[in-house]
């Protein structure tokens, strides 16, 4: 019965997603960005939600992928599509390699040290890109023009990002169901105990970090072509917009869950677009306020809230555990 329902859900979502650019042709770019946001939130949640490593600098991989793709497109001499595909692959691989290289040192940090360290990494990358002449320094880079009309371009990228978000979602679902998911959840709940039980925590941490990097790198590579202009600090390494949004979306939907980031991303993207049209100029101020409000009043997110209510009803016969343990977010999410 349950599988039938979820099949129905997936099918209807598939239909809506396939039809969306045809039904709303004026909003194709925004719809494409919606899938980017979904990937952002999903990939942030690998580390932040499932593994308990709150990274503030995942934007690094996004930007690196974007630049890698743009450099390939500029220097490879191929025509548009081969260069694009090669660039996207390169974006993912370069981001993955970078994650492997820096992962060992950085993932030894924990808690807020990890958070601030990654935050610094994202900003440093933006600053370096802004001073490096090979990739255009402060004036950024412009990927080659899409051969075809603007509407064709938007439709192409809409479906590309839709496919990519779907791949991300199912890959993560598969990973969370297996040993990998259990291992990173164990790291979140108690890293020292997990290590004492014989889990190679460092390996799992680097693996999770690399998966995040790969998916974000590919997203960044394609995103540079959708936006059409790569600015080091406002597009590629945009820590104060995309970088924070990915955290916010995962939290708003419910971190540590599979569907939470997706729901959070959709709601956040709609809110953000509404702000953009309604609050001329003040939208960024409003977004700052929104961050504070979500963090203060909905830190457990939509799915977290539903689960809390649901499990309260279920656990009413054995209330001792729920009441004596301090209300820390990690402990409530153990059931995921």
């Amino acid at each position: 019965m349950k599988t039938q329902y979820s099949l129905l859900l997936y099918l209807s979502l598939l239909l809506v997603s396939l039809a969306a650019p045809l039904l709303l042709p004026d909003y194709r770019t925004q719809l494409a960005l919606l899938w980017v946001m979904v990937v952002f939130a999903l990939t942030w949640d690998i580390m932040g939600g499932q593994m308990g490593y709150n990274s503030f600098g995942n934007i690094l991989f996004f930007g690196v992928g974007m630049y890698a793709c743009a450099v390939i497109q500029r220097d490879s001499g191929l025509s548009y599509f081969p260069a694009l595909y090669l660039g996207i692959a390169a974006g993912g691989i370069v981001a993955l390699l970078l994650a492997l290289i820096i992962g060992n040192g950085l993932l030894g940090l924990r808690g807020h040290y990890f958070a601030i360290g990654t935050l610094g990494l994202g900003v440093a990358a933006g600053e370096i890109a802004g001073g490096w002449d090979y990739i255009g320094a402060g004036s950024g880079m412009t990927p080659p023009l899409f051969p075809g009309e603007l509407s064709v371009r938007d439709t192409f990228f809409y479906y590309a990002f839709f496919v990519w978000a779907t791949i991300t979602f199912f890959t993560l679902r598969w990973l969370y169901q297996g040993r990998f998911g259990l291992a990173i959840n164990a790291i979140r709940d108690n890293e020292d105990k997990a290590e004492a039980m014989g889990l190679h925590t460092t390996r799992y941490k680097i693996a999770a970090w690399s998966i995040t990097a790969f998916f974000l790198g590919v997203t960044g590579a394609a995103m540079g072509n959708l936006i059409g202009f790569i600015d080091p600090k406002d597009v590629a390494f945009a820590g104060s917009t995309y970088g924070v949004w990915m955290i916010l979306m995962a939290i708003a939907g419910g971190k540590g869950t599979l569907w939470g980031p997706v729901i959070g991303a959709v709601l956040f993207h709609i809110t953000q677009e509404l702000f953009w049209t309604l609050l001329l100029g003040w939208q960024r101020v409003a977004l700052g306020l929104l961050i504070i409000i979500i963090v203060l009043f909905f830190p457990q997110g939509i799915l977290g809230w539903i689960r809390e209510r649901f499990s309260k009803r279920r656990q009413s016969e054995q209330p001792t555990l729920a009441h004596t343990t301090p209300p820390r977010s990690e402990q409530q999410e153990q059931s995921t």
Partner: protein, 328 residues
């Protein structure tokens, strides 16, 4: 960003002195290194100015150490308070007062802002998971930066306090009087802070709360009042720093994060509850940054700050890892 004009001055001065033949077959980036070897007097200039710059980092780092130690919050909005201090001073000057009045006025305004923000936001996160407070203060930082950008525009603002500069060694070493004031103020305020925490009634309450908030509450200390005052003092210290930044260099709405990272870095190097350490680390950071900005180029100076922070974090963590411990 703040030290850009200062270091730019070095580069222009330096480029007039270098004979063009040194540019051949050299990596462009390291040209300035040869200047340092050829003209060691620049080392003195960079060192003096760097240490004076560091005094401003020390001011913001005092606040960060205080809030971190007492409230267990890492205040990401630290740099934005510095920025606000600068803009308050700008308003003071526009109102027709001498820029030096900006220092006490910025401190008072920021103190009140700190109290208000505590009452509205931090009050709700102070006892919670550190991730929540990190993200909440990050939200405050974005909010303030965008608000100032909306009100004042994204332009770089600066004030010339008209205090002049001192020259040493045939004019090769220049020191602006503003930076000397900043330096003495940082050390003086550090002493005041130490005395206040040691001997004032509320200072003792702050230390008691830092040691054990629950016990302090049982003994009749209103910890929320203590937190509010701590946060206010932090904002006031940052406001003072910002007021000096706009006089010595410049401020703009998005300058905050590097200042946050600098004060964070100074605190992790010095360790919590180590005021002399904060002074030394801050001054050292100022000097290191000035040298790095000169050698690698000013466009990489901020990147240097952030990379240095990551390097310090990893290095400190590695040292602890040998004992199967990690940074807490």
């Amino acid at each position: 960003m703040g030290s850009k004009p200062a270091s730019l001055a070095h580069t222009t001065l330096a480029s007039t002195l270098v004979p063009p033949l040194t540019n051949t077959n050299n990596i462009i980036m390291l040209d300035n290194l040869t200047i340092l070897i050829d003209a060691p007097v620049f080392i003195v200039d960079l060192l003096v100015n760097g240490i004076l710059i560091g005094a401003i980092f020390v001011l913001a780092a005092y606040g960060m150490a205080l809030v971190w130690g007492v409230m267990n919050i890492i205040n990401v909005a630290q740099g934005e308070y510095v920025m606000l201090g600068g803009f308050v001073t700008l308003l003071v000057v526009k109102a027709g007062l001498h820029p030096l009045w900006g220092i006490p006025i910025a401190a008072c305004v920021l103190f009140i802002l700190g109290l208000i923000l505590y009452r509205l936001i931090l009050y709700r996160v102070v006892d919670r998971d550190i991730f929540i407070s990190l993200l909440a203060t990050f939200g405050i930082s974005i909010l303030l930066a965008q608000l100032i950008n909306q009100l004042f525009g994204a332009d770089v603002q600066t004030i010339d306090p008209g205090l002049g500069t001192w020259h040493f060694m045939d004019g090769m070493v220049t020191v602006s009087v503003t930076k000397v004031i900043a330096f003495s103020l940082a050390l003086g305020l550090g002493l005041c802070l130490w005395f206040f925490l040691k001997h004032a009634r509320i200072g003792q309450a702050i230390r008691a709360t830092a040691q054990n908030a629950q016990a302090a509450r049982i003994l009749g200390i209103d910890t929320h009042r203590v937190y509010a005052i701590t946060y206010g003092i932090n904002a006031a210290l940052c406001g003072t720093a910002g007021s000096l930044v706009i006089m010595a260099w410049a401020v703009h709405p998005y300058m905050g994060l590097p200042y946050t990272v600098r004060s964070f870095m100074v605190v992790i190097v010095a360790g919590l509850g180590n005021l002399p350490g904060v002074v030394l680390a801050g001054l050292g950071l100022g000097a290191a940054e000035n040298f790095a900005g000169f050698i690698a180029g000013t466009e990489f100076q901020i990147a240097f700050v952030f990379l240095l922070m990551i390097a310090i974090l990893i290095w400190r963590n590695r040292a602890l890892k040998r004992q199967r411990r990690y940074l807490k």
